[in-house]
Symmetry: C2
Subunit: 430 residues, 2 copies
């Protein structure tokens, strides 16, 4: 082995140890533990403590760190003063009872990329910015990517005042409660002239890479997501005193709608569409009362904009028909609607070149999940790297799992890609 | 008008005013108000305060009042010392977001019966006992008629230690928290030799009486109830990253089970059976996660014991089949099982005679709902009077409604029936 090879092997071993340590450290900041998974919702004190772990780590590497009014945390390694910034990062919030890797892997990759670059004395031309976005998961307020939306200017204080969690707390109130200043949200907006490009590392949250024995994925498109709240109105009544023929059971209607949504997404015409009803709330939800009202939260994902919207309209029409059939009525309300996003072809090519150089097998694939990168696409060129998910690709679950060596490979490709971007002159903006 | 008629009209007018006043007084003791209905769960401080209102009212009439170790409150008007007791009463707890009349009407009828008898100086042969049973609704712990079960000896401390509410609090812990002494539950047991008969007034919780323009109902049988908890186990996973064909969606299976239960109860073979799935809990219940586990609470009611049990077994078999079909699995757990009850033919006849004497139109009908009287049937002869429910018979809902004049008629028939029972010598026990 040459000395250079030995140093590279040493560095790789150190990266593996750091990956495990950092992932454990973030997993310990959780409302729930062990088989109950990780619960660290957006705009809670636990999410803020996770951002602080990131900030301290980056400060210790000598980077300048600041937190913006959206709650995003940004660490910068200064460039030569003549170029716009290259960014990487992800998020540190989780869904309720989620896994240890979603979002975290991209933040850990950013931290270890910064560590590799600073420890080797790398002097970038472009300022390199390592970013943790706040409140990425839509689980709490129904709309995903809050911090990156504010950075991209795709939401504002008025819209965030409308979004509320199940306790009735609005996004603005939640921000205020963790010491953020929602009065100055415009300060968090990124200016296009400050940014060259942005790359996010994330777990796949599917099993395409593991099934194909690929080392890493390079994302070319991100699915869009249309989110609906369907509320069925029936009549609450006594389970013993009410004959079957006199019932207006909101749960019977809601169940017919769940099955219709499932059938619609499995229909060949809609193949590639995914429809999920992840949340159901029945009222009064008591064993001896026929449910008077049931709310269903629906998430429709597609890489085809038109098909995504058509599916939403078809589902609403079918749900109204089923509600009437079972002698109830239905309200449909649009919670969020994001179109699919095409990522930068240049970044896909640079990333492919980098994985080839490192002797890794990559696959170019679409992302089913939405990501902060989708929002940042409104600001600059963007790319994404996927680390394989194991356990059949399960995510948003305590069973979510990615292997340490796969994550370390993600760090390697990211570091190479950031350097390649730093050395390449940007193509003229269209 | 004769003086006697005038006095009777006066008394009726006073009864009407008292009915409204007492129903308002109990409705004000609630966690929720107005259109959110009444919430006064069993073994909570609010239920205890309602019992105290009853106790004070009865003490003021000169009755001796005591509370037993089950939390039942009993007021006694002494007899001539040679006969066993005649009882009447109902319960004061409610379901979450319930109505103002369920249970309350029977307690108010008992209070105004006592008031009518004491104000006229009536001297009973039998001790007359006016009873409020504790924790009748199955809503909190899954099993109904807790206080009357303890009086009848159809449950015990061991069984009650197993039943828990959704916060994990057992019946025994709940009793302890409101100052009851669950160590001495046997003291609450009624002895057969102390009791002649028991009559409960209750709202119909159905629309048979109102639809038939009847003044009052006389119950001949009470439906049984078999209660199941069905838990579907799937795999929680990301709503974007998981293709439709790779899903194990517990809510899709649960929805198929809800529709199958509804179809089973509407099937001509099971006509008369009622199946309700009143409570559904999905986990993790987040918009962006496929549900990994869903729990359904099922209530199966019938007046035919065999058909009730056969329906429960058929539903479990069908639910297992549907869970497998949708690539999930199912656990079924029996929460409670009560057989249908035949009430006393003698009491039906005495009550019919009393309504005829008062010039009212009555109907003999079965009860779909379960009642404390079902438990007390293990101790002595029992009967029930139904006051018409309006608003289509809706119950366990804020829309539950019975008219004041209908309730006042219930008080009149109850008072007459109690006097008739007091004057009639009991038939030999079989």
């Amino acid at each position: 082995m040459t000395e250079q090879n030995l140093q590279a092997a040493d560095a790789a071993e150190r990266t593996v140890a750091w990956v495990d340590d950092l992932i454990d450290r973030f997993a310990s900041l959780s409302e729930t533990h062990g088989s109950d998974g990780v619960t660290r919702l957006g705009y809670t004190p636990l999410e803020r403590r996770a951002h602080q772990v990131f900030a301290t780590f980056m400060s210790d590497l000598g980077l300048s760190v600041h937190s913006d009014t959206a709650g995003n945390t940004i660490a910068e390694l200064a460039g030569d003063g003549r170029c716009d910034g290259i960014g990487t990062g992800s998020h540190l919030d989780s869904v309720p009872h989620g896994g240890r890797f979603d979002g975290i892997v991209g933040v850990v990759a950013a931290m270890l990329c910064a560590q590799t670059l600073t420890s080797s004395g790398y002097q970038p031309r472009h300022p390199l910015r390592f970013v943790v976005f706040a409140n990425e998961e839509g689980a709490r307020f129904g709309q995903a990517c809050n911090g990156s939306r504010l950075a991209a200017g795709t939401t504002d204080a008025e819209a965030l005042g409308e979004l509320r969690d199940r306790d009735g707390i609005s996004v603005l109130e939640a921000m205020h409660s963790v010491g953020l200043d929602p009065e100055r949200l415009n300060d968090a907006r990124w200016r296009r002239e400050d940014w060259d490009s942005f790359v996010e590392v994330h777990i796949e949250q599917g099993s395409v890479l593991a099934d194909g024995a690929d080392d890493i994925g390079i994302v070319d498109t991100i699915s869009g997501s249309t989110r609906l709240r369907l509320t069925v109105h029936g009549v609450a009544s006594h389970s013993g005193g009410t004959p079957m023929l006199a019932r207006h059971d909101a749960l019977v209607s809601a169940s017919a709608i769940v099955l219709a949504a499932n059938a619609l997404a499995r229909d060949p015409e809609h193949f590639g569409t995914r429809i999920t009803i992840g949340r159901i709330v029945a009222s009064p939800n008591s064993m001896t009362t026929i449910p008077g009202e049931v709310t269903l939260d629906v998430d429709i994902r597609d890489v085809d904009t038109d098909r995504q919207r058509q599916t939403a309209l078809a589902l609403i029409a079918k749900a109204k028909e089923l509600a009437l059939l079972h002698e109830t009525s239905l309200d449909a309300h649009l919670i969020a609607d994001t179109a699919p996003t095409l990522l930068s072809h240049r970044l896909v090519e640079l990333a492919s070149h980098e994985t080839d150089r490192l002797g890794m097998v990559h696959r170019v694939l679409p992302s089913g999940a939405s990501h902060d990168t989708q929002q940042i696409s409104h600001v600059c060129e963007t790319g994404m790297l996927f680390v394989p998910s194991r356990h059949g690709g399960v995510s948003h679950s305590p069973d979510e799992f990615s292997r340490t060596d796969d994550i370390a490979r993600g760090v390697q490709v990211l570091t190479g890609l950031v350097k390649a971007l730093d050395l390449t002159d940007r193509q003229p903006r269209s």
